[in-house]
Homo-oligomer: 193 residues x 2
DNA sequence: ATCGTTCCCTACCACTTGGTAAGGAGAGAG
DNA sequence: CTCTCTCCTTACCAAGTGGTAGGGAACGAT
């Protein structure tokens, strides 16, 4: 029973790092001192294993990221965004894999895994919708703002390794330090003057 | 001579759509009614072909995205961002592949292709640095702001297909319509009140 | 002791991968 | 006509892919 969890963890790591096609069943199995047939025994096919990893990610996302009993205040959205930022950095592998899933979606469109994000997005939009400063805005504006802020977070979370190579580790640490403050301004800003 | 360009175009499409491991030489070749050995004849190996695609992308990015003779005004950065947004939507395949490259960077770290983005980022940061509203801010804040805005653009550009499936084509069209206006507020906002 | 179940292994398979070797069609040069 | 060079072909290969078949070890239940 515990083997399933170990497999899921290793699969997440490798799928996030190398993508669905870049990671092979054999590699994942070797990482755990198993054979790939152990994975097949537990999950049936590679696709199903990948699906199980996605389900695990979305469950984490749903239980941790959105607090349904969010206090209704002018900064409710900004607060939620701050929490999501911290969580995103903490679960960077989840973020990496979800980003890959976003890119691969054209082919995998009809499959499961994708719509797990929908309630998450809708929840955030709802938070913003109840913000007094956003009462005047239309639906498209609200949703676009949510997505822009989310994009800023995820893109950065996925870029740190590259940025460290491109500049320096210290440079990225500086960015990480002032990121929440700047992110808050992004999240709050945008209402008509 | 013209074959090289055709190969590069097809390779860009498939690499962007399916990733490096997801796209095979054979698929790319069949798309052009050639055999994979034609590609090998022109580019040597798959890695080199991929590298050539990256070089082509970065050249497009350098010549089109940053206008060195940008007018120095309070909105110079926001103007540049607007242009980059339009260009990003126009060259969505380039954006897709650069995003994939960002994700794969851990493995490909030492290789070329990555640092092409550096002058682009630095140029944008420089634009913001000369903005009178940003004179007080420190380097990390400036760069973080640049990266957040860029993240909002790229994440959205890469998400449209998924969003269309998750909601509707009309929903995404609405977002695209109000995106530039909201993006401008993101880019301008963020200075201390 | 024996049966059944869970969990994982070895052995094997068809297929695809990137890449090599060698040769041919076409064109221009002498 | 022939030599050469560019561009691309067919034929082939070793390695790796996901997946099947079947067996064996451990263990609890009867």
């Amino acid at each position: 029973m515990e083997t399933r969890q170990r497999i899921l963890a290793a699969a997440l790591r490798l799928f996030a790092e190398r993508g669905f096609y870049g990671a092979s069943m054999d590699q994942i199995a070797r990482e755990l001192d198993l054979t790939k047939q152990a994975l097949i025994h537990h999950f049936g096919t590679k696709e199903k294993l990948y699906g199980a990893v996605l389900v695990a990610i979305s469950e984490r996302l749903m239980t941790e990221a959105i607090q349904p009993t969010e206090v209704e205040s002018a900064s409710a959205f900004a607060d939620a965004v701050s929490r999501i930022y911290l969580r995103t950095l903490q679960h960077r592998e989840d973020t990496l894999l979800l980003m890959r899933e976003l890119l691969d979606n054209r082919r995998r469109a009809a499959q499961a895994g994708t719509w797990y994000l929908k309630p998450f997005l809708d929840g955030l939009a709802d938070l913003l919708r109840r913000d007094p400063n956003w009462q005047e805005e239309d639906e498209a504006s609200i949703f676009t703002h949510v997505y822009q802020v989310l994009g800023a977070i995820n893109y950065f979370a996925v870029s740190t390794a590259t940025l460290e190579n491109m500049y320096s580790v210290e440079h990225v640490e500086d960015m990480q330090e002032c990121f929440p403050e700047r992110l808050r301004k992004l999240a709050m800003g945008g209402v008509d003057t």
